[in-house]
């Protein structure tokens, strides 16, 4: 029996899909090369975004069409809103919350193709929340041999009014630190070069849990800064260079301790993603973001003081319900002030389930596009200024993949700035020095340093 799992969504969905693959593999199923060859087809998706929803429907209609020709079991999991769950039950054979992943083999056996369901037994096609610990215990089947995502937390308690995550993934649950450190240690030992700690609000990790579950004086849930410190201790002592990232933190939980931990460990990458969302206090209130621009400004000041080489990324939403021209202008000014290296800018669209979906989506689409365009221009300008200062410098880059253009490689600096450079494919997965030759608005061009211009093997690289 074979399976194929696809992820439609963010890094969290990709990370979830790695665990789904691991569970199916553990149950004796093999991964199929193509969807067309699989006996079990699953999608780990985000029902928070309309675009992802459209793709889920497109996939399941295609898959259900194949059922006339051959036995096929389909499932969906990930971030699913309750109303979508009911719709999906009409289209997919199995629908389950990602926390219930450990029960997937049981569901497949009960309902699936391999073992027929005894007559009179109603198959349980949708299961309810079990124990998050069982989910964390699943060793993922990583998609990359060089770069890994490590979830440290699931769910969200912040209830930002533009976001439906609390309704799709439930309450914020922190993963025990010992599990996280175990996974990070294994990744480091297996030669991984980048590790990204994942969560909806990573820096509220362990918040309110105190010494819960502590044994022998070691808290099961330290603070996020303490966790970073421990992860840094592991990664600093690796036999090769490792860059550890985390995403996304929430400004209201961003403490100086976190920045100090990043500063103290060479392996903790000097890059901070700090979602601003809006530069106007009234919009922040309406978004239920629990910080003011002044609070955010102070954090950025701390980042620039304590981590002078760090790159700063952000998330922004334009055209949120009721956003006036004046309020948008405050966001534009904030962007100019904070001089981001990268910003993920979205035009607001109502997320079913989120509180904001009950308000008027009253900024016209054309105006949202215009505002998005204005902010994109600011970003390109501020990022280019940062990049121009890098020209001529030699920086370490992590080679992620080969470019579509033969002979070129795609890499990223420690600060996660994309870099294109000529080089041998054997360098993929290594961290190598490169000299920046040109600056572009959102990327850099570079040349490998002399020692790596010949077909250097990754073992020889950093």
């Amino acid at each position: 029996m074979t399976y194929r799992v696809i992820a439609l969504g963010c890094q969290m969905n990709i990370s979830d899909s790695e665990r789904v693959a691991s569970v199916l593999q553990g149950a004796g199923y093999r991964e199929a090369e193509r969807e067309e060859d699989a006996d079990i087809l699953g999608v780990v998706a985000c029902s928070v975004r309309q675009k992802a929803i459209d793709r889920i429907y497109s996939k399941i209609h295609e898959w259900n069409g194949w059922k006339a020709q051959r036995p096929l079991l389909t499932f969906v999991s990930g971030c699913i809103l309750p109303e979508d769950e009911r719709k999906f039950l009409r289209l997919f054979d199995l629908v389950f919350r990602i926390d219930d992943l450990p029960r997937l083999p049981e569901l497949v056996r009960t309902y699936g193709v391999p073992v027929p369901v005894p007559s009179g037994v109603e198959p349980q096609r949708s299961v309810t929340l079990q124990h998050a610990d069982d989910f964390w215990a699943i060793a993922p089947r990583y998609q990359s041999p060089h770069a890994a995502y490590v979830p440290i937390q699931n769910g969200c308690d912040k209830f930002c009014t533009f976001c439906a995550v609390p309704y799709t993934r439930g309450r914020e649950v922190s993963r025990p630190a010992a599990d996280i450190l175990g996974e990070v240690t294994r990744l480091v030992e297996n030669g991984y070069r980048t590790i990204t700690l994942l969560g909806q609000n990573v820096n509220s990790y362990g918040k309110g849990l105190g010494d819960a579950g502590s044994a022998a004086g070691t808290p099961a849930f330290p603070t996020f800064a303490e966790l970073l410190d421990e992860v840094g201790d592991v990664a600093d002592t690796a036999a090769h260079r490792v860059w550890v990232y985390f995403t996304s933190p929430h400004p209201s939980d961003m403490s100086g301790d976190v920045l100090d931990a990043i500063a103290a460990h060479p392996s903790l990458a000097k890059q901070v993603h700090l979602p601003l969302q809006s530069g106007d206090d009234r919009v922040l209130i309406r978004m239920n973001r629990n910080y003011r621009l002044e609070d955010y400004r102070k954090i950025v000041g701390d980042i620039r003081d304590r981590l002078p080489t760090a790159t700063l990324f952000t998330d922004l939403i334009v055209g949120f319900c009721g956003e006036t021209e004046e309020q948008f202008a405050a966001t534009r000014e904030a962007m100019e002030e904070f001089r981001y290296h990268m910003a993920f800018i979205a035009a607001y669209s109502p997320r079913p389930g989120a509180a904001g979906s009950r308000w008027d989506d009253d900024v016209p689409q054309s105006e949202k596009k215009r505002r998005l365009h204005v902010l994109s221009e600011v970003l390109q300008r501020t990022a280019l200024a940062h990049h121009e200062r890098q020209v001529g410098a030699t920086v370490d880059v992590f080679v992620e993949a080969e470019d579509r253009q033969p002979g070129l490689l795609l890499a990223r600096t420690e600060g996660r700035i994309p870099v294109r450079l000529a080089g041998d494919a054997a360098l993929v997965g290594s961290i190598v020095p490169a000299t920046v030759t040109a600056a572009r608005p959102l990327s850099l061009a570079a040349e490998l340093s002399a020692a790596h211009t010949l077909a250097a093997a990754p073992a020889a690289a950093g």
Binding site: L129, D157, F159, T161, D281, L293, G356
Partner: protein, 230 residues
């Protein structure tokens, strides 16, 4: 965490607003936080600020039945003993956490201004029920006196109804003062004293207006905590 709690009772506090009292279970919260509530087995839930006090052996929420609203209508029709799905607590609008906490901790001796519209009075009711001695003035924006939900819970000198409906008479004891006009009109004529910590809860139109007004009066935005109802 999510749990199923039984409905103990309902008391109507106006034609359209009511208080649901639920068993407490092991639900702990800080005054000012909210919970999500829906029928057990139902898919829909809504967020409601907790109305009761920290020490009360039960949980209470203040709900206004919304025309066309599905959850608020169904909850009102539930019989005592019905099971409700409850999750929480959530939120930062407290005197002991987040932004509001910072205001509380750093300057505990400063006066408090609380501004509510309609059922936005719920977290302030929880503050008053939970904490004994607070130096506050509560401005309650209502359309009509009937929306002054359980105003006897507040000392007369600390509760001021701002009644927006013209010519609305204020029934009840004479010591209960009222102001004819919106909370914003009151604040325009009564500038906030320096050092006051301000907490706003209710509809976003009021919060935006009051926020701007307070800023113009020199209140730093860091001294304004807000909870938007939707």
């Amino acid at each position: 965490m999510a749990q199923t709690l039984r409905l103990l009772s309902r008391r109507d506090v106006s034609d359209s607003a009511y208080v649901l009292r639920l068993e407490r279970g092991d639900f702990s919260f800080a005054p000012g936080q909210y919970l999500t509530l829906g029928e057990a087995g139902g898919a829909e839930t809504r967020e409601y600020s907790i109305y009761s006090g920290m020490q009360d052996p039960y949980l209470e929420v203040l709900i206004k039945e919304v025309a066309g609203g599905s959850v608020s209508r169904r909850l009102r029709r539930l019989a005592p003993g019905s099971e409700l799905r409850c999750d929480g607590p959530f939120g930062f609008f407290t005197l002991g956490n987040g932004l509001a906490d910072r205001l509380a901790d750093e300057h505990a001796d400063r006066p408090l201004l609380w501004v509510a519209t309609g059922t936005g009075i719920a977290p302030f009711h929880s503050f008053v029920t939970s904490y004994g001695d607070l130096d506050y003035l509560l401005l309650h924006g209502v359309r009509a006196p009937s929306e002054c939900y359980e105003r006897e819970a507040y000392p007369a000198e600390r509760y001021l109804a701002c009644v927006s409906e013209p010519n609305a008479a204020m029934p009840g004891p004479a010591e209960h003062r009222s102001f004819a006009g919106r909370v914003t009109a009151y604040l325009r004529h009564h500038a906030v004293a320096a050092g006051t910590r301000c907490f706003l809860c209710g509809n976003s139109a009021m919060i935006f207006e009051v926020f701007d007004l307070l800023k113009r009066q020199g209140v730093p935005s860091a001294d304004i905590a807000a909870e938007v109802y939707f």
